[in-house]
């Protein structure tokens, strides 16, 4: 007897952007898995052409309301690489502080408000708040601490206005940043509590072996610089990304799908960063991770919530370290003299590696732009996760399986808005 089952989610909830999902099962085998990304194309790369290089951080920040700092960081690093500018250690520290604020804000929003309801069986954070008011209140405060860093350094909570190629328009004074310290000291305790709360959840089994890709720095947990490494031994400069990776159009998606040249499925984001850089975490963070049940490597995407909580804790400690030794860059930026060149950079957005490459002219205008967001790199991994998960859970009833499939996608914290150039769920069974 041949029976077709179809699982369909027309509009995925608790993801950033618009997309759907369809799984088709025939005779006990998953036949087709597709993430349909119908959020309209954004055309950012096209309209950057002809703009001045200095406009890139403000224009690309508009790609995303959740991770604008990531776009600003990858774009300024790429422009500075093109023009041979080196803003120095104080600008670097201030950029890292700003980026930590975004990691805290983005990770807590996803872990506590979007992902946690999946594990506890709630439709949304609002429904969860009735039974878990303490965790929700704590998470809102924690998220706010991240927002406050972004506001203090970047000028406002979203789409910060203080970042420029070469540095910052204005460096905040030590007295302006000082009030952040006690707030982050409180936030640190809250982050530990959030991690402990998440570690009590039940995690479905799923062990995946995609090629993990992240930045790696000689001494630091990856954030705004480093070489691109992978679990398969890749070790390249950021500027070499296009020699080793490619993007392809697939008809169902307004987002490009990225992969390793030669066809391998890649995965970027918290699991990749953590598994490839556990040794770069300070001992106290390693201990907190292990106490929460994580090993030195994490291949179960359902446990990404734990890794996000660990990275939140790391970002708070990093921000505190920067704040305690903060000295404003003087001047707050270095002049960047345009030259005909190509510049590329990759930084670690909350969702993973964010690659930017620009070709600029001697007139300082952008001739060509390429932006590869982390979600585009993870789409194939998401489809593979769904395929593996559904195949192993065919006995699960329709409604429950549909929810689990949505969760499989949410494990990746996809940002469809960023990738569109993405989510809903359709599971079809024969």
């Amino acid at each position: 007897m041949s029976k077709v089952r179809t699982i369909t989610v027309n509009a995925l909830a608790r993801v950033e952007g618009e997309g759907g999902l369809k799984v088709r099962v025939r005779a006990g085998k998953v036949q087709e898995v597709r993430l349909d990304i119908y959020e309209p194309p954004r055309f950012f790369e096209a309209f950057l052409k002809g703009r001045t290089l200095g406009e890139a951080p403000d224009l690309t920040a508009r790609i995303c309301g959740i991770c604008p700092v990531a776009y600003q960081m990858s774009s300024v690093h790429a422009m500075e690489a093109a023009c041979g500018a080196e803003p120095g250690p104080r600008v670097r520290a201030l950029r890292r502080l700003l980026y930590c604020g975004e990691w805290i804000e983005s990770h807590v929003l996803h872990a506590a408000m979007l992902h946690a309801p999946d594990f506890l069986g709630y439709e949304s954070a609002l429904h969860m708040a009735k039974d878990h008011p303490g965790a929700v209140t704590l998470s809102l405060r924690l998220k706010k601490a991240g927002n406050e860093i972004v506001t203090a350094v970047g000028g406002r909570e979203i789409h910060p206005v203080n970042v420029r190629v070469g540095g910052f328009w204005r460096a905040p004074s030590p007295s302006e940043l000082a009030p952040l310290v006690p707030k982050l000291e409180t936030a640190r305790g809250e982050a530990v509590e959030l991690l402990r709360w998440a570690s009590t959840f039940t995690f479905p089994d799923l062990d995946l072996h995609h090629e993990l890709v992240s930045l790696r720095h000689p001494s630091e947990y990856p954030l705004n610089e480093g070489r691109i490494v992978s679990s398969e031994g890749l070790d390249i400069a950021a500027s070499e990304w296009e020699r080793h990776f490619e993007e392809e159009h697939v008809p169902r998606s307004n987002a490009l799908h990225a992969r390793r040249k030669g066809g391998g499925i890649i995965q970027t984001g918290p699991l990749a960063r953590y598994s490839l850089n556990f040794d770069r975490l300070p001992a106290a963070i390693q201990a907190a991770a292990q106490e929460a049940g994580l090993g030195k490597e994490c291949r179960n995407p359902f446990k990404s919530i734990l890794v996000r909580c660990v990275e939140t804790l790391w970002a708070i400690d990093e921000a505190l370290a920067i704040l305690r030794s903060y000295e404003p860059p003087e001047p707050s930026f270095v002049d960047v003299v345009p030259r005909e060149a190509v510049g590329a950079a990759a930084t670690e957005a909350p969702r993973g590696l964010l690659f930017h490459r620009y070709r600029i002219g001697g007139d300082g205008l952008i001739k060509e732009a390429r932006i590869v967001p982390p979600t585009a790199q993870n789409l194939r991994a998401m489809e593979a996760d769904l395929r593996g998960f559904v195949q192993n859970h065919l006995d699960v009833a329709e409604e429950r399986l549909t929810l689990l499939c949505e969760q499989v996608v949410r494990n990746h914290d996809p940002c469809i808005s960023c990738a569109t150039h993405f989510l809903q769920l359709k599971i079809e069974r024969d």
């Binding site: 950033e16 952007g17 309301g65 959740i66 408000m113 949304s124 954070a125 609002l126 708040a129 009735k130 008011p133 929700v136 209140t137 809102l140 998220k143 706010k144 927002n147 406002r156 909570e157 979203i158 808005s417």
Partner: protein, 146 residues
């Protein structure tokens, strides 16, 4: 104690700027403390203290004629979550206020004005009907300050 007016919206999305414009118009008025809110609805509750009297103004999209003004007393009952509050992907005004209710963090009074939007395309100016509705809401809020 001044009336706290929170204007919610996005300056770059046509009629979605209505709440922000209302807050700006009230900024210099006596008896009012006006703030602009451009991020997700979950952080709305950070603006008020338990004893505050609060007015929130935002655009919404419910299928009514552009410029139609809705008024809800949030302290008396739930904000209709299906009223189509405009928010691109992140939790909006209704979710923020209902989360505050569940957490016991509503202020002493909370009035919500929703202005039906006409067009919210990027880069567009306010439509005439919504501009007139902003006037109407501003006058109505000033009446409440006594």
């Amino acid at each position: 104690m001044p009336l706290l007016v929170i204007g919610v919206g996005n300056d770059f999305r046509g009629d979605d700027a209505a709440g922000l414009l209302a807050a700006r118009r009230l900024r210099a008025c006596r008896g009012v403390r006006a703030v602009e809110h451009t991020t997700d609805g979950l952080s709305l509750m950070d603006h008020w203290r338990p004893t505050d009297r609060v007015v929130v103004v935002d655009a919404l999209s419910s299928g009514h004629a552009p410029g139609t003004v809705f008024r809800f007393e949030a302290t008396e009952g739930p904000i209709p979550g299906d009223a189509g509050w405009i928010s691109s992907h992140s939790p909006g005004v209704a979710e923020g206020i209902e989360t505050a209710r569940v957490l016991g963090r509503l202020p002493a009074s909370l009035t919500v004005y929703g202005i039906e939007a006409g067009r919210v395309d990027p880069g567009r100016a306010l439509t005439a009907a919504v501009a007139a509705a902003v006037d109407e809401v501003v006058l109505s809020i000033l009446d409440e300050t006594g």
